[in-house]
């Protein structure tokens, strides 16, 4: 298996749609279109250049058709892989593959959600699993809570350590004008918040917001002709370990171990080369699991690793600098925003939250209930 070619493609445009609580009546396709327009403006490309369209959302069954119709496009290449929040990291790999094969030259990857406006129940159809649903797990929180219970049992991870993930995310969010949360948060504030599914309080859980956006992928060659600094795709990896939490092979080891390994190999890089991480923090345990599985600390040491502000703005490792799904924005499938922030960091566009000398970024997507993992390693021109 030969695989994708390191740095054959780059992300050249990124943008959020309106976020938070969007205007009444805006559809998920409206939000995708906002994202496409803004991301194209960011890249310097035009709608007529687009010949690849990728989408994922829970609120439109045939969303790629809807977006193509809306944009007036009949592109030679489309994709709508949907694996929860990690969908967009898969789309990057699929777009890169299509570009390498000459099947398209400029791909947009778009997302939209109005789950806050319409309510979570309206935003995604409840699926009944006859082997799990009778026990009324509060999904997805309870699935992640079960994984957290194992991590606490096996490694002594504490609720305070998990709370440190939420506090770091909030500190970063306070530096991001686009973030939903505007007030400081303490460890005690996390622990004393309303309990959702033990050990998680509502502050261990991602936000419920509206939002969307788009990213533009093109060939490395074309990327170099554009104004903004390209974010080259250096590595991609994916892993599917299960669908339901009762079938997860090991509740303390995620597919990020495999997806990261594949991505590092393709990128010819390792964890010590990475300057900034965008990790899918649907719940506080996620950040701990992914730091371990992506090789930033040993298995079981993630709790101690994140304590004491290490991953906050004053810490030694920059993680989720936009404030993450915990404090910036979480419309249900957050993976697109990981890519947006990683690209902005590589370009040096992040203002107060900018990480110095940022050459290599990881965007790590998670989907389902730790089910699907996808790692994208991006780098600026210094890495190519």
């Amino acid at each position: 298996m030969e695989g994708l070619k390191r740095a054959s493609a780059a992300i050249v445009g990124v943008a959020e749609s309106d976020l938070g609580h969007v205007a009444d009546g805006l559809s998920v396709i409206d939000l995708m279109a906002q994202g496409v327009q803004r991301a194209l403006a960011d890249s310097g490309l035009r709608l007529k250049d687009v010949d690849g369209v990728f989408t994922a959302t829970t609120q439109s069954r045939l969303s790629v058709l809807a977006l193509c119709e809306y944009l007036g496009l009949d592109p030679p290449f489309i994709g709508s892989t949907i694996v929860g929040g990690s969908s967009f990291e898969y789309h990057v790999a699929h777009a890169m593959s299509a570009i390498e094969q000459g099947l398209c030259s400029v791909a947009v990857i778009a997302y939209g959600s109005t789950q806050r406006s319409v309510g979570r129940k309206q935003a995604s159809v409840r699926e009944v699993n006859p082997y799990e649903s009778p026990f009324r797990p509060f999904m997805p929180s309870s699935a992640y809570a079960l994984a957290a219970s194992r991590h606490m049992h096996q490694f002594g991870t504490t609720r305070e350590q998990m709370a440190a993930v939420a506090v770091a995310a909030r500190e970063w969010a306070l530096l991001n004008p686009a973030a939903w949360e505007k007030k400081p948060l303490t460890i005690d504030g996390v622990l004393s918040a309303r309990m959702v599914s033990y050990p998680f309080t509502v502050r261990d859980c991602c936000l419920v917001t509206d939002g969307g956006g788009a990213v533009i992928v093109t060939s490395a060659e074309r990327a170099r002709s554009l104004e903004k600094k390209p974010a080259y795709v250096l590595g991609c990896g994916q892993s599917v370990t299960h669908s339901a939490i009762s079938s997860m092979p090991d509740l303390t080891v995620t597919g990020a171990l495999a997806s990261g390994k594949t991505a590092y190999k393709m990128a010819k890089l390792g964890p010590t080369d990475v300057d900034v991480l965008a990790l899918y923090d649907a719940f506080t345990i996620n950040t701990i699991l992914f730091l371990e599985d992506l090789g930033f600390c040993k298995k079981g040491e993630g709790g101690a690793f994140v304590a004491g502000g290490r991953i906050g703005p004053k810490g030694s490792l920059a993680v989720n600098t936009n404030g993450g799904g915990l404090s910036y924005c979480h419309p249900g499938m957050y993976g697109l925003f990981l890519l947006i922030e990683a690209v902005r960091q590589l370009r040096g566009e992040c203002g107060e939250r900018q990480v110095k000398d940022c050459d290599v970024a990881i965007a790590h997507g998670n989907g389902g209930v730790l089910s699907s993992q996808a790692t994208v390693i991006l780098g600026n021109s210094a890495t190519v």
Partner: protein
């Protein structure tokens, strides 16, 4: 009558109706298979035997759900001694007293009405 075999789910539920916790066993893989399927995920073969669990297991993971309304309740993953894991809950003790590693014993829960029976567990010493 519909053509073909009974669904794995309905076979499983028919056992539960009789008070039995059924699972599948793959003789070629030498492993238990759960949830029930039409093929073995280890071999790809449809050669799967139905077996009845002795109903003893260990709590593998546990959480307490705090719903917006109503009492908190337990949700757990149980490792049965025959080598399969399932989602369930531990009853007869407070939901926050359920411990990982705790030994538990199966009993059938019959919600009544349209709801099919489901397997729940109680502390093994109390059963």
């Amino acid at each position: 009558m519909p053509a073909g075999e009974q669904s794995p789910l309905n076979t499983y539920l028919a056992h539960l109706e009789k008070g039995e916790l059924a699972y599948q066993f793959s003789p070629d893989a030498g492993k238990a298979v759960f949830y029930p399927r039409v093929l073995c995920p280890f071999t790809g073969s449809s050669k799967l035997e139905w077996r009845i669990s002795k109903g003893l297991g260990t709590v593998h993971a546990t959480t307490v759900v705090h719903p917006a309304e109503g009492a908190a309740y337990n949700v757990a993953l149980i490792d049965c001694d025959e080598g399969f894991r399932l989602m369930s809950r531990v009853e007869d003790i407070a939901p926050d007293k359920v411990r990982i590693g705790q030994r538990v014993r199966f009993r059938v829960h019959r919600p009544g009405g349209e709801e099919p029976p489901c397997p729940v567990f109680v502390p093994a010493e109390a059963a």
